[in-house]
């Protein structure tokens, strides 16, 4: 069996005239916890929809476990588990009825379905809530039901869209522990999207998407280490002039991002000691820190992670509907 779980080649996607994905290519290995990180509108949800076969490919190709999503969609659907951002559970049905329904959709019935549903309830700590209507459960518990549903048919690739949405920090930590366990025990490949920078640190590898383009692809540690040494951030009244001064007087290469001056330097602390007297009173603050994933994002895109908050992923630019092949 292929050691590549997901292969994405030159995938582009348009909602009407707006380009949501622009020539994305990458591959995800089996057993990897892989994360698509990006601000809203970055294209990660579109990619998620393509991976889970909710929308058809327009350009490029995607294969999952060696099977093409366009031509072997049914095979792919049997082997992926999907967790949506908005839980797909039925609130009027009980936890057990939701699991049974999911089992039926995946061709499970009788004793096998009962065993698997029991197993899922046990693993996710839902045994004592099995007869409760899902609408009476908290957001965190609903997310567990959703996860139980998606794992019922023992998928080999688990696709999750912003699974931490609505979870408190403890529940988020539980979720990650469970995902890591599934990966270790069953070689489950986990592919998820997130806009939370702190969550991205937990992935084996991550792809940073911005405005439909793949701007970085590596492990969180490697990405951070590609930035030289320390990050110095200067908040001041006239950032352009300060940047010019740094270029001319110190031969540095600063960038101005969101009205702050940013620069990378191997020995940040030593440099700051020289900069402070030279910059004068217009400076409000100077900070030195180790690079974070946000610094990687800024370095690759030239803008802040949260700068592009207009929601453009979804339907606002979508032509009325998209035909499946």
């Amino acid at each position: 069996m292929s050691e590549t779980a997901v292969q994405i080649d030159q995938v582009s996607f348009r909602y009407g005239k707006r380009l949501a994905l622009d020539g994305i290519s990458l591959s995800i290995a089996r057993g990897e916890v892989f994360l698509f990180l990006g601000p809203n509108g970055g294209g990660k949800t579109t990619l998620f929809r393509l991976l889970c076969t909710l929308i058809p490919l327009q350009q490029g190709s995607i294969s999952i476990l060696g099977h093409d999503v366009s031509t072997q969609g049914d095979w792919v659907r049997r082997h992926i588990g999907v967790v949506f951002q908005a839980p797909s559970v039925d609130g009027k049905l009980t936890v057990w009825e939701n699991l049974r329904h999911q089992g039926y959709l995946y061709g499970l019935a009788g004793r096998e379905l009962r065993l698997r549903a029991e197993e899922a309830l046990e693993h996710l700590g839902l045994q004592d809530r099995r007869n409760d209507p899902v609408e009476t459960l908290s957001g965190g518990l609903r997310r567990r039901v959703e996860l139980a549903k998606s794992l019922l048919h023992h998928p080999q690739v688990l696709l999750m869209d912003e699974p931490s949405t609505g979870l408190d920090p403890a529940a988020r930590s539980d979720l990650w522990n469970y995902l890591n366990l599934l990966r270790d025990q069953q070689q489950l490949t986990v592919v998820m999207t997130t806009h939370l920078l702190e969550e991205a640190e937990k992935a084996d590898r991550l792809a940073i998407l911005d405005r439909g383009r793949l701007v970085a692809l590596d492990s969180p540690g490697s990405l951070r280490s590609q930035i030289g040494g320390d990050i110095i951030t200067i908040e001041c009244e006239q950032p352009e002039q300060v940047a010019l001064l740094l270029q001319e007087k110190f031969q540095l290469s600063p960038t101005v991002v969101d009205h702050t001056v940013r620069l990378e330097h191997a020995q940040g602390h030593q440099l700051v000691a020289q900069l402070v007297p030279a910059l004068g009173p217009g400076v409000r603050s100077i900070t030195v820190g180790k690079p974070t994933l946000e610094d990687v994002f800024i370095q690759r895109t030239g803008h802040r992670f949260w700068a592009n908050q207009e929601e453009t992923t979804s339907a606002s630019h979508l032509s009325r509907e998209t035909d499946l092949p």
């Binding site: 797909s88 999911q102 025990q185 070689q187 979804s314 499946l324």
Partner: protein, 279 residues
Amino acid sequence: MNTSAATQVQPLAEAAPRLGQGWLAVWSLGLREWLRFVRQRNRLAGALGQPLLFWLFFSEGFRETFQLPSQGTMAFREFFFPGVLVLILLFTAIFTTISIIEDRREGFLQAVLVAPVPSWALVLGKLLGGTAIALVGTLVFLLLGVFLKLHPGVWGVLGTVVFLFLSGLSLTGLGFVLAWRMDSVQGYHAVMSVVLFPLWLLSGAFFPPPPGVLGYLMMINPMTYAVGGVRRMLFLQGGPLNSGDPPLWLCWVVTLAFCGAMILLDMAVTRTRTQGDLR
């Protein structure tokens, strides 16, 4: 989450397609519609109450003035009875498909769309679930026919039920295709009031086809053949039939064709994604 228990997880099983999996999905989707219906009892009260009031008030109101063309002898209460049956069916069946809009809004539908379920199974599951709900109210009302001294006989009753079943499928099918493209329940209600009332008012439920444009409109309304079929079945064992209904064979042909066309249309429409799917 019980992470310690997860260490006992069985090795991955190869998920293989099973024979009859489509029908399992049909059963599950239909059953779910039913469970949701019985857990919202006000829906049942609404489905039965309104037509019952319609029937009682209209049949009393028109009792003295109603007369069928050509020496009609049928009382309005009897003439109107099949129309009310179809009315109950029409409203309950079509409004069960509101669940599609709710399913999409609540996120339930997306899980079905990415499951290995063929489009015919999705359509039939929804349609059969909705039809079963609609038939319950309609059949309860059919029992009231006893008080009208209708004696359709076994074949008449069976034929009536089959007509109602096929019409139920067609109407849920019609609701399905309209609901699929909508993302608000309010919008659906607005469209439905424009579509439903002409469909019912011009079905021969209220009055036989008059000469002129209205008569032609009634001829092209598939519901005319549902009402006509039910009326002919209920009066199968004789009784006054000068109600202007189409011949029975034509009622069967049109009702079957309408049903088939709606199912095919629904299957085609499930292949499209709407704005609501991509929120």
